[in-house]
């Protein structure tokens, strides 16, 4: 036996959340062929089918692209610091993909490490993630290569698995998730079923071997030629979490704010002295791969990637992680003498 909800009922439920004044976000079509997680204004705009996944991720709902840390006010010649108010609104993310939700525990390691990040913590508490298991995949998807899959439950509060065209199975994974759905489901005798996910695209073990020995490999330069050095991959990534802190204000005072940043920007590592330790795009691409697959794992025992493929999907030149890891994996399989295929 399982719990189920019909799709219209789900939409009505979303409507009732909105009516209660809750913040709800989910996939919305913002243009031809372009679906993004966006705050919902009406349940009708929620998109549950007809796309592989959004180009952005749900991380913005716990780690906004722009966040006020604290305010400062000039009082004569003194400066007064005022804490930014912590978020208070409950929010529900509906229609998240497992590769989005699985990123949340990954982010947790970072933001709860050492001194916990108060506003991140608060947002995590206030956020309920309702995930939709994947039935379709595209060439960019590679969750299975990282031992994840289309119904990965990590990070989700509720997992919806399609039973048929009308109905989802509702699997509550946390009490927060259960509270949302418990009175709105019907009992069903079927469980939702989905496939095994995208075919494996590279060998993670081979990658590990390669990274252990090839920090100085010329292969990084061949990838770098194509990379334009924008931040689309990092900003579309559910796990990338680098930020920049700046002050913005006027003569009365202002705000210290935290904004997303990307290690792919040429000036990301520019020091105040003028020195820049990563002057070449090759170094920056290498950094991104190493951080995700070696530095972060060494520190937290997990991978800083869920295999969502957004870095390629949103990439102006269709680079991103998968093509790089595929090439590396191929290199590891071949004898070392052969030069890498031109990316």
């Amino acid at each position: 036996m399982s719990h189920a909800i019909r799709k219209e009922a789900l939409r009505a439920l979303v409507g009732s959340w909105l009516a209660e004044g809750k913040r709800v976000a989910g996939p919305v079509a913002v243009g031809p062929g372009r679906v993004l997680y966006q705050p919902l204004v009406s349940p009708e705009r929620l998109l549950l089918d007809g796309f592989i996944r959004t180009v952005n991720s749900i991380k913005a709902f716990v780690f906004p692209r722009h966040e006020e840390l604290y305010a400062y006010r000039f009082r004569g010649r003194q400066v007064e610091l005022i804490d930014a108010p912590l978020p208070e609104e409950e929010q529900i993310v509906i229609g998240a993909r497992p590769c989005d939700a699985a990123a949340l525990p990954v982010l947790d390691h970072v933001f709860r490490w050492g001194t916990p990040d108060r506003s991140y913590e608060r947002r995590r508490e206030l956020t309920t993630v309702v995930t939709l298991a994947c039935r379709e995949y595209d060439d960019h998807c590679f969750c299975t290569s990282l031992d994840s899959g289309p119904r990965d439950e990590r990070g989700s509060d509720v997992l919806l698995v399609e039973i048929d065209e009308e109905t989802y199975e509702v699997v509550w994974l946390t009490s927060k998730g259960k509270d949302l759905f418990v009175r709105h489901t019907e009992r069903a005798d079927r469980k939702g079923t989905i496939g095994t996910g995208p075919k494996r695209k590279f060998d993670a073990a081979a990658l590990e071997r390669f990274l252990a020995e090839n920090f100085e490999s010329p292969v990084w330069e061949t990838f770098a030629l194509r990379c334009l050095g924008c931040g689309a991959c990092a900003y579309d990534c559910p796990t990338c979490h680098c930020f920049d802190i700046v002050d913005e204000g006027d003569r009365h005072g202002g705000m210290r704010v935290r904004n997303w940043d990307s290690c792919q920007f040429a000036l990301f590592t520019l020091h105040a002295s003028g020195h820049n330790p990563r002057t070449a795009q090759a170094q920056r691409i290498r950094q991104r791969i190493y951080h995700k697959f070696r530095i972060y794992p060494d520190k937290f025992g997990d991978t800083l990637c869920t295999g969502c493929g957004n870095c390629s999907r949103g990439c102006p030149v269709h680079l991103g992680i998968r093509p790089v890891l595929e090439a590396i994996s191929a290199l590891e399989r071949k004898p070392q003498s052969a030069p890498p295929k031109t990316p």
Partner: protein, 666 residues
Amino acid sequence: MARIGVFVCWCGENIARHVDVEAVASGAATLPGVRTALSYKYMCSEPGQALIRRKIAEEGLDAVVVSACSPHMHLRTFRRAAEGAGVNPYRVEMANIREHCSWVHHDRGEATAKAADLVRMAVAKARLDRPLEPICVPVARRVMVVGGGVAGIQAALDVADAGHQVVLLEREPSIGGKMAGLSETFPTLDCSQCILTPRMVEAAQHPNITLHTYSEVEAVEGFVGNFRVTVRKRARYIDVDRCTGCGQCWNSCPSKKNPSEFDYRLGQRTAIYIPFPQAVPARPVIDKDACIKLTKGKCGLCAKRCEAQAVKFDDEDRLVVEEVGAVVVATGYRLYDPRTPAAADGISGYGEYGYGKYADVIDSLQFERLASASGPTAGEIRRPSDGAVPKSIVFVSCVGSRDPAKGLSYCSKVCCMYNAKHAMLYRHKVHDGAAHVFYMDVRAGGKNYDEFVRRAIEQDGARYHRGRVSKITEREGKLIVRGVDTLAGEAITVEADMVVLAAAIRPAEGVERLAQKLGVGYDAFGFLSESHPKLRPVETNAAGVFVCGACQGPKDIPESVAQASAAAAKVLALFSRDELSRDPEIASVNELTCAACFACERSCPYGAVERAELRNGRGEFLKRTARINPGLCMGCGTCVAVCPSKSVDLDGYSETQVYAMLKSLT
């Protein structure tokens, strides 16, 4: 953090009347970087400047904000004062709370609030001022004098006599200006031409003077010490170098009935002509609209007669470039034309006086020609209509002057004197004639001036009526002048044979265009603006450009000549230096971030941007970059605006400063 002193000036009552200067100062004292803020009655006075110097020493200030008048008025003054106390002069800023505030906003609350804003902006800017050192540029010791009337001639001769080169420019075919056409001059009644002609010749023959007649300023480039003036030499149709001035041409010219400009249309001249016998240079020009050869293609008699073969019918305008270090503007005046209303000037005109309608209503410059021995009547007073000697003349003062309702608000200053002179000259020549003068006041301030007017009335019997003329009509060959005598309190009517209108003095035609080329300001009437009405009367706000004579305001000959000598003295002071120091507020490139797109190069009006390469200590090529040549940059900042990465910045108006000023207004 900067150590700024804010000094708020009362300017006597000028600022303090509408701005609460104490509140402005106490508000300024709380601003970041401000060490001291105080107000004082006259900040530009010596005690005021001493106060600034003392505070700089006491408080260890490194920047100064003076909240007073326009920086165009006193920035230099305060920079010098601050420099005297050891503050870099380019760390001095002014908040203009007089011209831009107290003089234009009379609500005390609003004016004070705005003044506080202006001070805050200036402090924000001063906080970011960099200390700078002036840039030195060489001076071209050569002056251009624009206008060859008595003022221009005087200025030219003074500078030339001091040993410097002068380029004297005159629009008409001959130098001499208005004075060359005057009869006798007040208050001495000496012959105008007798005193001027020798000076004209002297100017023409002076080894240091280059004369361009029939020429105008086409364009001006450059800056003080280094102007490049393009002169348009109008086609004269005469090869001046070949011409001997023999007169064969004009004596043989069949086109004789052209109104003479020099005689103000009272006489006639030929198509090829010299404006008057004593013209300098004594070389003719051809009036291309009157010349039969040039209009119809036949004739050419003058060319046939010319033994020197100096007539060139194919002559064209030529452009000559003169490089000079200074310019003196002496473009003089013209008379207001009482006939036509000028809507643009708000002048409704004096149609009721019948000027242009009745031949015997003339203006005062025309009367000068009638009274002049070299004039169309050889000095006999004869009326234009029939050549009869008028037995009664009415002289009308203030036609256009002192009449904001219909004419111009200002006093033309010289009319009272020449009215008296005209009455006197007429009575000397026509003993039984009646000279009536209608006047509003008689303004005869000046050495021997009032005595001169008294003489006209008491010895020469001029009849003065205090009042305006309301209408002039013609009846049976007589002009009926209706007016009022406000002293007698009665309307009076005078039957006159001739009426002379003392029309207002206006600046010469086209002076605005010239002023614009030179960057000189002018007032609503077109008179050029001096830097300061009292302290810098012949300087203008365009450095290196000076004014003298009636282009700056109505004046008589002695005043014009005095001003011309003053302008010459200013030029000589400028030329006494080998080089000028120029404000170093110029652009510079951050060569590390410059993308070398050279948008700046394309936008620079001075060609001051160079393409350069950046190399490391070992001389290895790093990148290309734009670079500013500080000798050529004039600091307009156009490069800053077009630089996409904002790798160019302009000292004194830097990006940080402008944004800081904006921020100070939030």
